[in-house]
Amino acid sequence: MKTTITVNGQERSLDLDTRTSLLDALRETLGLKGTKKGCDQGQCGACTVLVNGVRINSCLSLAVMHHGDAVTTIEGIGGEDSLHPLQQAFLTQDAFQCGYCTPGQICSAVGMLTEAAANWPSQATQDLSAAIALTDSEIRERMSGNICRCSAYPQIIAAIRDVAGAVA
């Protein structure tokens, strides 16, 4: 099925089996291997990408559902010569060991910071009428859809806290 998706700012025309997940279209058809396949069932967050600026699990979405959408993967977040502040913070804070979950963590964190800036509540939000303050418990809760089996969580929180603090 003919599907056109803007990926990292570039319009890409694809002809896909309807069963192709957005994740497989990115990795296998477009060769963007930065986005990782972990559980392939929405539980680990390794496949997190931004669709029209909003973070989703690309494994639980069909590519054909995203005809006309703008997708940003880790390759579009930043490169070696142009690290996104979150990428730099992950390096500075040593926020990974094996690195497999890292692209998903960073894409998720980008989306999460946008959500917090828009004052979206989370389960950790005590006062639904107050402005969101990105405390560690808020960051932890908002990032719970991203698993790190090396358990670099303290450093991941530190990296996100650095960037969230710089934004705030």
Binding site: M1, D17, L60, L62, S144
Partner: protein, 317 residues
């Protein structure tokens, strides 16, 4: 995954027509549950009608101070809506206690209501399950049924409904508006959307083939505080073992039946002046222990008391 054809619906009536007239067709909204089940060969649609882009995502003021939530509004949008947060905090709390940020960004209001059970035997295609394969038997009866139903179960099925959002909507007395295959609109209480398993657990709702949920209408909030309390095995991103939604004197339980369970006996007891513990007991007298899930009876009692105490202290009032 089995092959299927796909179309993106551009208007509501055409979407209903497409699903009702195409054998094997299903609506696709966020897809977070349906696609997962298709990968596992539990759902086998031959045609998907994508309703995700239909103009059904608005959240609008309804008559007499209520709120009409479009079926395609995402869980994140509903939870973050200022009117939901101020008038129906129990709904925001319930939604943000479910899934992950990524899932809530994709999951829709209509899809959330129609998500299917997380019973492990429903997912395990190597095991009998009357819901998946009618007549094959219920593996959860006598099996690892720690998370099974304590209300409304049958010999055919003891699964639970997994939605948090639906529990809050049930406590709030919300109704679902639909469009039927013959073009008629109808509305039914969220509690009446679902069927208990009986001897046909494969039939889960009272929706007719092709009938589409177009919106959910939440009536004006009852007087009194609101709160959602959920107990589970880990602090975040996990289904509930049990949950309780309170809105004033209205109470609903989650993860205890194949539908969000309106605790009417508890409400009657509360109205008659019973204590929270007595009210919980009034409902739980009818609860059933299936072997490994008996702990839920005490858990729901404690959650109910905690939730009622919290609302009486003013949180979310």
């Amino acid at each position: 995954m089995r092959p299927f054809t796909y179309e993106r619906a551009t208007d509501v009536a055409a979407a209903v027509k497409a699903v009702s007239q195409t054998p094997g067709a299903r609506f696709l909204a966020g897809g977070t549950n349906l696609l997962d089940l298709m990968k596992l060969d539990i759902e086998r649609p031959t045609h998907l009608v994508d309703v995700g882009r239909l103009p059904l995502a608005a959240i609008e003021d309804a008559a007499e101070g209520g709120l009409r939530i479009g079926a395609m509004a995402t869980n994140s949008q509903v939870a973050a809506d200022p009117r939901v947060r101020s008038r129906y905090p129990v709904l925001t709390q319930a939604i943000v206690s479910g899934g992950s940020g990524q899932l809530r960004n994709k999951a829709t209001t209509g899809g959330n209501l129609l998500q299917r059970t997380r019973c492990a035997y429903f997912y395990d295609t190597g095991k009998p399950c009357n819901k998946r394969t009618p007549g094959s038997g219920c593996s959860a009866l006598g099996g690892l049924n720690r998370n099974s139903a304590i209300f409304g179960a049958s010999e055919a099925c003891i699964a639970t409904h997994p939605s948090d959002m639906a529990v809050a909507l049930t406590a709030l007395g919300a109704t679902v508006e639909t469009l039927t295959a013959d073009g008629a609109s109808r509305s039914l209480a969220v509690g009446d959307l679902y069927q208990l398993p009986g001897d046909s657990p494969q039939v889960e709702t009272n929706l007719a083939p092709g009938e589409l949920i177009v919106s959910v209408v939440v009536p004006p909030a009852p007087a009194g505080g609101q709160v959602y309390r959920k107990a589970r095995d880990r602090a975040s991103y996990a289904g509930g073992l049990a949950s309780v939604a309170v809105a004033g004197g209205q109470v609903a339980f989650g993860a205890v039946a194949l539908k969000p369970w309106r605790a009417e006996r508890a409400e009657v007891a509360l109205a008659a002046g019973a204590s929270p513990a007595e009210a919980a007991q009034a409902e739980l007298a009818g609860a059933q222990d299936n072997g490994r899930n008996g702990f839920k009876i005490a858990l729901v009692a404690r959650l109910t008391v905690a939730a009622l105490d919290e609302t009486r202290q003013g949180r979310g009032a």
